[in-house]
């Protein structure tokens, strides 16, 4: 082998390195399997139980309340997460741009936002059920609230941290003050805004179980709550796995989109 080739890791090694992220999950899976083995009536299901539960949820050969209902639950949750995320984005983006750009808007709203921000979504649950009633509207509100703050705060930060030099450069090239927003502020803050959207969508998935504690009939959160009351921990864990996978795939899709749109940004391209 030539020196140039041996100095770099070979393709086989690179491929192997990609698998390094699987080491810890496989070890944990093994520990889980060993810890639950031969303990048939434990409340902690074995990996095998969860696989069976997933299978039953998906194609339903066992015929209980959960059989074959996975797609309905998943569909309801996906709809809720994306719907609420869009609602949050529609409110948070313009508000963030305004607060980031206008001193008056910042002085008017920043104190309120700083107080509201640390309140966890769970704390809003009782109030939300009173305001929006039991069911879908309440769930929608809570998920939107979870997605709202990451989008808002990242948008404000992105707009405020546009390099002052870029305004000078645009001004000396003939951009008027009123055209600064579309020509400089918006494109320059796009990577930060995108990060906020990505975090917001991720938060939507985090909040979905709490959101669906409000008495909705379908949805992965509702399913987990039902299963909990029936002590069906295999279904609970299966639901957790599905939420994890759905959140992961949804983030992957957003990241791919970001790489496309933000090719110019060293942090995204």
């Amino acid at each position: 082998m030539s020196a140039a080739v041996s100095a770099r890791p070979g393709p086989a090694w690179t491929r192997l390195r990609r698998l390094v992220g699987l080491v810890v999950p496989v070890a944990l899976l093994l520990a889980w399997w060993l810890g639950t083995r031969g303990n048939a009536y434990s409340l902690i299901p074995s990996p095998g139980d969860v696989v069976l539960a997933l299978q039953d949820l998906a194609v339903g050969h066992e015929d209980d309340a959960f059989s074959g209902r996975l797609l309905a639950h998943l569909g309801a949750s996906v709809g809720r997460v994306y719907g609420a995320f869009l609602l949050a984005a529609v409110v948070a983006l313009p508000l963030g741009l305004l607060i980031g750009r206008l001193r008056l808007a910042r002085e008017l709203l920043d104190p309120l936002l700083q107080v509201l921000r640390p309140i966890p979504v769970t704390a809003w649950l009782p109030l939300s059920m009173i305001l929006f009633g039991l069911g879908a509207k309440s769930a929608f509100f809570l998920v939107a609230l979870g997605a709202f703050f990451p989008i808002l705060l990242n948008t404000i930060f992105a707009v405020r941290s546009v390099e002052p030099r870029l305004f000078e450069a645009a001004a000396m090239l003939g951009v008027s003050q009123t055209r600064m927003f579309p020509r400089v502020v918006l494109p320059a803050s796009l990577p930060g805004i995108f990060t906020g959207l990505r975090l917001g969508l991720g938060f939507g998935w985090v909040v979905i179980v709490v959101g669906e504690m409000t008495g909705v009939q379908t949805g992965l959160g509702a399913m987990i709550m039902d299963a909990r009351q029936l002590s069906r921990t295999d279904i609970v864990v299966a639901g957790m796995v599905v939420i994890g996978a759905a959140g992961f795939l949804s983030d992957l899709a957003v990241q791919t989109l970001g790489r496309r749109l933000l090719r110019w940004s060293p942090a995204h391209g």
């Binding site: 030099r165 870029l166 001004a171 090239l173 003939g174």
Partner: protein
């Protein structure tokens, strides 16, 4: 001297209690290459930024083509040390930014951008983004961007200060080439005595505390200038003496 393109009278600038610039007087003729030379804190960048319209003076006036300067504009293009390129635009789009901002048609913008990208020799990188370029290439884009916008006066704030010595020399040569070919007027801020003598028709020496113009030196050496020649060294020695006269040191460079 030809008609003065730029006239500066009694220019002063205070930042709070700090007097960054006091009583600056300067006239720049069309087609002239003027270097502002001085140590940090002498007000040379402040002077340039006031001419650009980024700062408002505390005292005095800047008039450009007989009109008082009040704010930045395309007639006075600025080249920054840190480039100030728009990271979301390609080389070609960066160069076409000014013409586009001023409302030219798509085809016209493309034609202008291509012409000036070619002038700085970056055709192969026309579709690259700034983060993919070296420092020297970024500064070429910044220069092309200002020229593509028909700047009559090119203001340069230590533009080659962040570049390695070899790239700096190449860009100095290229800049002189463009200046001669296009008949530009250039105001160039530097703290390097040698750079000032290589480039300028006239070197304006500034001194700190408070920042002010202390001397002027016309450089009549034929271009390209040989930095090792006795004539070059004579100018260098004189300028270094002016720079350091504050400290009572008559130093050879």
């Amino acid at each position: 001297m030809a008609e003065a393109l730029l006239e500066i009278r009694g220019l002063g600038k205070n930042y709070g209690a700090v007097e960054a610039l006091r009583g600056a007087e300067l006239a720049v003729a069309r087609g002239e290459f003027v270097c502002l030379l001085g140590a940090s804190g002498c007000g040379k960048s402040t002077l340039l930024r006031i001419v650009a319209g980024f700062e408002t003076p505390t005292a005095g006036v800047v008039s450009f083509r007989g009109q008082a300067v009040n704010g930045p504009g395309p007639s006075r293009g600025m080249v920054f040390q840190d480039y100030g390129l728009f990271p979301w635009l390609t080389v070609r789009e960066n160069v076409g930014f000014g013409p586009r901002a001023r409302g030219m048609g798509r085809a016209e913008v493309a034609e202008i951008a291509d012409r000036f990208v070619a002038m700085v020799g970056l055709q192969r990188f026309a579709l690259s983004y700034p983060h993919q370029l070296s420092g020297g290439m970024k500064q070429r884009v910044a220069i092309a961007r200002v020229l593509a916008n028909d700047a009559e006066l090119v203001l340069m704030d230590e533009p080659f200060g962040a570049l390695d010595a070899m790239t700096r020399e190449r860009l100095q040569d290229e800049l002189l080439g463009v200046w001669q070919a296009q008949g530009l007027t250039v105001m160039f801020v530097t703290h390097s005595v040698e750079e000032a003598i290589v480039l300028a028709d006239r070197v304006v020496v500034l001194s700190p505390g408070p920042g002010r113009i202390v001397a002027e030196e016309r450089v009549d050496l034929a271009r390209p200038r040989d930095v090792a020649s006795p004539e070059f060294n004579a100018v260098r020695r004189r300028l270094a003496g002016m720079l350091h006269s504050d400290h009572g040191v008559v130093a050879a460079a």
